[in-house]
């Protein structure tokens, strides 16, 4: 029956995919599934981005202009949920699907059918979530952190759809992680030892463990919400001996590892791109691996730094403050390693490199504001202000999202066999770079001055910063349409790419032809030192 693989081959061309819609619905191919994930994530980016622009349009001036406060709440909530679970995470999973098998020298993902299931759950889950916006009761309006009792006692009835949507996203993530772990641990080509793996593979291995550990906890949290709402339990209701603060603990036990889930693969991407364009091997490979593992471990013991103002014993405040500050050490190791990699390198500044360097600089700014937030006494001042919004957008937009965009520019020629337009790519970079800073940098100031987050109206003294911020948001938002244009143009009519694509690129994926064949490695490749991690 080994011809089953051939059977689907000869329909159209020698690459092997089935024809039409069936290819995408029924595929078991890691590249097809990776493509599905990436386009889905981009669609979600546009939907979540539209919500962000509605928010920024409303905040352009003080007073209520465009939307009702109730709808504004739905926008902040769904913007957060869609960007976190619909855009950033699926984009990283899509990259893992495309790249991990090629990087470790495997024919495909370890469990190809489950791979398909992991993806196809997502459109249904987000269909369910987004449909609530069109229901009579309105969509979820309690913030992406869905604190009880806002999300239980006072929630709109559509919260039930939200809960089941989260269950579905969780199932998708868990299956995806299991698949990635099995692929990395079981499918490496002979000679591809763990410490030869590219850092993107390492960071994803560790991310997959984080997902496996915390997505079930999130499922547990929403399950308790479901029972409180529909079956009369009192987990988050003090009248029955429960506690709303308990919800926050359980949520952030998931939530803090979750934010590293959204940044560790980014570290892997940047660690691949910088050596290529600095034409030097990555500085401190081993320390990068250990730093990633340390960050992952620390992510489990810092969760309550999100909740300093809710009240906790002094010992708890000190513990969570110091353990949070500890994270700066492995993170600093990484930043210094990237800088040391560039030091005295023969650097060129193609679009992926520009995004990667911007990542290093701007993510570091986001990391530093995180350190400020970690200091318990001053967090009392910053908590729930725009300073927090500025902080996490600096790590998520020029952090996670920039790394994803960098990865798309970097590997796109390998995926589709054609180069993107370098001039347009640079234009896209500068528009994004300026847009992102104009949007989020002023939010530090309005936050420090006391502007609370999640409100549709604000006091007059914040007007200038908000107007600047809104202008930046529209520049940034519409620039992403340019990304879509550049990618489609490359796929349809880009210049043919060479196999190696980038002069300084190392790693197994560059030994394959461009575009990469439908089945990556028909037999395990030989691992040479040059093709080991870059």
């Amino acid at each position: 029956m080994s011809e089953v693989i051939d059977a689907s081959h000869d329909h159209h061309d020698h690459h092997g995919p089935a024809a039409g819609l069936a290819r995408w619905l029924f595929t078991t191919n890691h590249k097809d599934i990776g493509t599905l994930y990436l386009w889905f994530a981009f669609l979600m980016l546009l939907i979540g981005g539209t919500m962000a622009l509605i928010i920024r349009a409303e905040l352009f001036q003080p007073g209520l202009q465009f939307v009702a406060p109730e709808f504004f709440n739905q926008m902040t909530t769904n913007h957060g949920l869609i960007m976190v679970f619909g855009a950033i995470m699926p984009a990283f999973v899509g990259l893992a699907n495309w790249l991990v098998p090629m990087m470790v020298g495997a024919p495909d993902m370890a469990l190809p059918r489950m791979n398909n299931l992991s993806f196809w759950i997502l459109p249904f889950a987000f269909g369910m979530l987004i449909s609530t916006l069109f229901m009579e009761a309105g969509g979820p309006n309690f913030g992406w952190t869905f604190y009880a009792p806002l999300s239980t006692t006072y929630a709109p009835e559509t919260v039930t759809f939200f809960i089941f949507g989260v269950h579905m996203m969780g199932a998708s993530s868990i299956m995806g992680s299991i698949n990635i772990i099995a692929t990395i641990l079981n499918m490496r080509a002979p000679g591809m030892t763990l410490m030869k793996m590219p850092l993107f593979v390492w960071t994803w291995l560790i991310t997959a463990y984080l997902l496996l550990a915390v997505m079930p906890v999130l499922a547990g949290a929403v399950t308790m919400m479901l029972f409180d709402i529909h079956f009369g339990t009192s987990f988050f209701n003090a009248a029955g001996g429960g506690d709303p603060v308990m919800f926050q603990h359980i949520f952030w036990f998931f939530g803090h590892p979750e934010v590293y889930i959204m940044i560790l693969p980014a570290f892997g991407i940047v660690s691949a791109i910088i050596p290529t364009f600095a034409r030097k091997p990555l500085f401190g490979y081993d320390s990068m691996v250990y730093a990633t593992a340390s960050i992952a471990f620390l992510s489990f013991i810092v969760w309550a730094h999100h909740m300093f103002t809710v009240g906790m014993p002094l010992a708890g405040q000190l513990f969570f403050m110091y353990s949070t500050m500890l994270i700066a050490i492995p993170t600093g190791v990484k930043v210094f390693n990237w800088v040391a990699t560039m030091w005295q390198g023969s650097m060129t500044f193609e679009t992926p490199m520009l995004f990667a360097i911007a990542f290093v600089v701007l993510f570091t700014i986001g990391g530093f504001s995180g350190l400020m937030l970690a200091i318990t006494p001053v967090d009392y001042q910053y908590h729930d202000t725009y300073f927090v919004v500025a902080h996490f957008h600096y790590v998520l937009v020029p952090g996670a999202l920039f790394s994803i965009i960098a990865a798309v520019y970097y590997w796109l020629p390998k995926w589709c066999g054609r180069m993107y337009d370098e001039k347009l790519g640079k234009l896209h970079f500068w528009l994004s770079f300026i847009g992102v800073n104009v949007t989020f940098f002023p939010q530090h100031f309005s936050g420090l001055a006391g502007m609370p987050r999640r409100i549709p109206d604000y006091a007059l003294q914040f007007a200038d910063f908000n107007m600047i911020s809104s202008c930046g948001a529209f520049i940034f938002g519409f620039s992403q349409l340019l990304l879509m244009y550049i990618v489609i143009k490359a796929i349809r009519s880009g210049q043919p790419a060479t196999d190696r694509v980038w002069e300084g690129a190392h790693g197994l994926e560059w030994t394959l032809p461009s575009p990469a064949p439908y089945h990556s490695f028909t037999e395990p490749p030989k691992i040479t030192d040059a093709d080991a991690h870059s």
Partner: protein
């Protein structure tokens, strides 16, 4: 690649319709479930059709999917490497289940040790309890809620009566049953390794019976709790944690028993060989897992 004949012996299945239908089935089941729950809450005429359609669809597709995997394995398409992928998959799936229960155990510990003392007037947040419900006494099991007008007090808890009287204590017998079943399923595994069909069938059959016995006793206990003790899901934090923990455990035992029944059926059809019986092994790992969860339940929910 054009040839595609040798994929280093790692079998990559052709395109398949199963996954996308599973996704659709889950969507119908949960979407229908949400509509149904909301109707119930609003007091409208509830309609469960969509959920049932989803459930049936899920069952049908999963049956076909598993049948296909078994068939492919019997055709010799699976290499030892591929079987290792299944091992990793099942192992880490069980780990994720452990974390699911960890969330509920975490809630139990948090409620008992922190919430209870705060509501009872100790520690940092004691003022809440003092201000709202000064009469509340912090005693676990909570049989007298902070505000009994919102959450009706249970008449009695399920707490263990002390080791001396465990002879008449149903959860104790359930513990004995589950522990025994872990041993019998291990004997069944040994029987596969020794290629002793009759032994395999009898030990595995006994395990399934023990699983069913556990479930019957568990239902009996719930009836007792609801009808005689007045302990329900809505009788405050004790009832909440008790029923959620034991309920999800019971649901997992149901799944595990079902898996073992499938394995019994496959044993009748001589599917298992000493070197190739991962289907059985994964069901038995799952069974040991629900057993361990029960031990934690027995001690932390019933005894202490």
């Amino acid at each position: 690649m054009s040839s595609g004949t040798d994929h280093s012996a790692y079998y990559v299945p052709e395109n398949g319709w199963y996954p996308v239908w599973v996704a659709l089935a889950i969507f119908l089941m949960l979407g229908g479930g949400a509509v149904w729950l909301n109707d119930l809450k609003a007091g409208d005429e509830p309609n469960i059709t969509l959920t049932l359609i989803g459930l049936v669809l899920l069952a049908v597709v999963l049956f076909a999917w598993f049948a296909k995997v078994i068939e492919e394995n019997q055709q010799g398409l699976y290499s030892p490497q591929l079987n290792r992928s299944f091992v990793w998959g099942m192992g880490w799936f069980i780990f994720s289940e452990v974390m699911f229960f960890a969330a509920f155990f975490g809630a139990l510990f948090y409620a008992r040790h922190f919430v209870l003392s705060w509501l009872g007037g100790e520690g940092d947040k004691a003022i809440t309890g003092e201000y709202l419900w000064p009469e509340f006494e912090a005693v676990w099991p909570v049989v007298s809620n902070p505000d009994p007008s919102v959450f009706t007090n249970p008449g009695e808890s399920m707490a263990s009566p002390g080791v001396a009287s465990w002879g008449g204590y149903l959860p104790f017998w359930n513990t004995v049953i589950l522990l025994t079943s872990s041993v019998t399923v291990h004997f069944a595994h040994t029987a596969i390794k020794d290629q002793q069909r009759t032994k395999l069938l009898s030990w595995l059959g006994l395990t399934v019976l023990l699983g069913i016995a556990f479930l019957i006793l568990q239902v009996e206990e719930y009836i007792h709790a609801y009808q005689e003790l007045g302990l329900t899901l809505s009788s405050g934090i004790y009832g909440s944690t008790f029923f959620l923990l034991t309920g999800f455990h019971g649901f997992h035992v149901t799944l595990g028993t079902f898996m073992l029944m499938v394995m019994l059926f496959r044993a009748f059809k001589n599917h298992f060989k000493p070197e190739d019986c991962f289907g059985f092994e994964s069901a038995s790992w799952y069974w040991h897992f629900v057993d361990v969860v029960w031990l934690c339940l027995f001690f932390f929910v019933y005894v202490f």
